[in-house]
């Protein structure tokens, strides 16, 4: 296949090669070998290896995983907790569902290694309630891991004990945000709080807590097996390893692809997605999901690289790429995205709760043909306020798509202004 040269299957190598219900097949494909190696090392050694690998979190914020682990290790307080964030709700993303449904033990092995390194005894996998198949597969996999002695008391005779519990969500996007997730586990409505302190020092039940995304944990066994140094050679200097890409929208071959970091968005769309159907042209692409930026066709050569993207105030987030062709009405899409956030806002803070309501009113004025220059100015100030003053990432990121459209497709708004009042 033509796409061979740009896909790099590390996390997805076992997909469809093993039966996800069989721990023996996972083991026969090199599974749990990294755990065995890890149990012979100290926590510091493992964390150093992860720091050397330069792995960054795959849940959206790209925070260095080794540094997070080190903070948890050094934090005072016990018990400490580890949480795998499998709440995947960012529209356009489906990678974590595939990771759970196709290779559940890879995640479990990653969590156990991290927990051992930071000396944590209790872990959770927080899975969104809609993912019923994934929940069942993960439950079964945990049970198998216990039977084999990879979980539970005295793991593989190492003297270390650890177990994992599954927590299922009940339908709320904001619960993927780490503080909202923590209070949900504590049995409250998922509403975030101010930071700092961060979960690494004050997380679940105010105890030090390591929270990472599913894909982040999946990288851990590979880092241990190949060594941090080797891992850091994959990708670019600022973004190491591979990235799972959830490709969707107006595209011939939508699907999940694993690429080396540093690959360009254009290559992903053309070589893996096989381009746009019906001989249409690309109008714009949203990167990361609903909270990600929208960029025009002429910027698609940008590479998946944290540093390069940051120069343009962009990021690849959790790796969704949503392609939209030239039939799509930009404002209609922005309204849909804003409605999503409006529905998902927890309502705790004013900039987000009221800001989203006002954004929808203002966007309507543009589509209704009654917007003025003042409306545009007001919209921009409002969005800036939301970025700055919202308590959590939901409200801070909700305006990003609209702001990027104003940056790259300003005429979509100015064309619709009907009068220049004062």
């Amino acid at each position: 296949m033509s796409n061979i040269e740009i896909t790099k299957n590390i996390l997805t190598a076992r997909f469809d090669a093993i039966n996800p219900d069989s721990i023996d097949e996972y083991i026969s494909h090199n599974g749990y070998s990294a755990l065995k190696k890890s149990l012979l090392k100290t926590g510091e050694e493992i964390i150093n290896d992860i720091k050397t690998s330069n792995l960054r979190g795959r849940g959206g914020a790209a925070f260095p995983t080794g540094i997070k682990m080190e903070a948890v290790l050094k934090a005072y307080g016990s018990p400490k907790y580890i949480i795998c964030n499998a709440d995947e709700g960012e529209p356009g993303n489906f990678k974590d569902r595939y990771l759970m449904e196709k290779d559940p033990h890879q995640i479990i092995e990653g969590i156990i290694i991290c927990a051992y390194a930071t000396d944590i005894k209790h872990g959770y996998i927080f899975i969104r309630g809609e993912y019923i198949n994934a929940i069942n597969i993960m439950r079964k996999a945990l049970e198998q891991a216990r039977v084999k002695g990879y979980l539970g008391d005295n793991i593989l005779d190492s003297g270390y004990s650890f177990d994992i519990e599954i927590y299922t969500g009940a339908g709320s996007y904001v619960c993927g945000e780490e503080f909202a997730l923590l209070v949900t586990i504590e049995g409250k409505p998922g509403r975030s709080t101010y930071k700092p302190p961060f979960p690494t020092t004050s997380g679940l039940y105010n105890k030090p807590t390591q929270i990472n995304n599913v894909e982040t944990f999946c990288n851990i066994p590979h880092i241990i097996n190949m060594g941090g140094e080797e891992f850091s050679k994959i990708g670019t200097s600022s973004s190491t390893g591979t990235k799972l890409i959830s490709l969707s929208g107006n595209i011939i071959s939508p699907g999940l692809y694993e690429v080396e970091l540093g690959t360009s968005i254009r290559d992903i769309i053309n070589k893996l997605g096989n381009g746009i159907p019906n001989n249409r042209k690309i109008k714009m692409v949203q990167i990361g999901g609903a909270s990600g930026p929208i960029i025009p066709e002429n910027m698609l050569d940008i590479k998946l690289d944290t540093k390069e993207m940051k120069k343009l105030d962009l990021c690849f987030g959790s790796g969704a790429i949503i392609v939209m062709d030239d039939r799509i009405d930009v404002l209609d899409i922005l309204k849909r995205i804003t409605e999503f956030f409006h529905h998902e806002s927890c309502g705790k803070c004013t900039p987000c709760r009221e800001g989203l309501t006002q954004m929808l009113i203002l966007l309507d004025r543009f589509t209704d043909g009654i917007a003025t220059t003042n409306d545009l100015a007001l919209l921009e100030i409002l969005m800036e306020t939301m970025n700055q003053a919202s308590i959590c990432g939901l409200g801070q990121a909700a305006p990003i798509a609209t702001q990027k459209v104003l940056e790259y497709f300003r005429e979509e708004f100015t064309n619709k202004i009907c009068s220049t009042d004062s």
Partner: protein, 154 residues
């Protein structure tokens, strides 16, 4: 299932509450929690009724409105939206003769909007129970509904 049974199975501590509420709701015929249920949860767990109520109203998988046996969750986020989720909604409304958010008179189906179902590679998508259905067409939608109609007397 009784509220008490759900709590006995899942545990009465706050961290087990949402799981118990979901399991209990699923066991009710009409997929929702009544005010009596909320009171019962509060009594059994000794968690304030207001907190139980706020949980029931916060999470979209929990409902305090009577619903059908099968909840048809239609994804309406951008990848599905640009692949025709509007047509999916129209088709469902036509076949079931109800509007979005309503329940059929035989109490079999409720149609609801859903956030992204993680099935955007097969957009447009919907989910009923544990099953995801993607690449929806009008024909596919009507055949999906008839399989559930067939299960009626199970």
């Amino acid at each position: 299932m009784l509220v008490k049974e759900a709590l006995d199975k899942y545990g009465k501590t706050p961290d087990k509450l949402i799981g118990a509420m979901l399991a209990y709701q699923k066991s009710t015929l009409c997929n929702y929690l009544t005010e009596e249920d909320i009171k019962e949860f509060a009594k059994e767990t000794k968690i304030p009724e207001s907190r139980i109520y706020s949980i029931a109203s916060f999470y979209s998988l929990l409902s305090m409105k009577e619903r059908g046996k099968y909840i048809v969750m239609v994804c309406y986020d951008v990848p599905c939206y640009i692949n025709g989720s509007v047509n999916v909604v129209n088709e469902l409304e036509k076949i079931l003769e109800i509007k979005m958010g309503q329940t059929t008179t035989d109490k079999l189906f409720t149609i609801e909007y859903s956030s992204c179902l993680g099935c955007c590679d097969k957009a447009p998508a919907l989910q009923i129970g544990a099953t995801l259905y993607g690449n929806l067409t009008p024909e596919k939608i009507s055949s999906i509904l008839s399989t559930y109609r067939g299960k009626k007397d199970e």
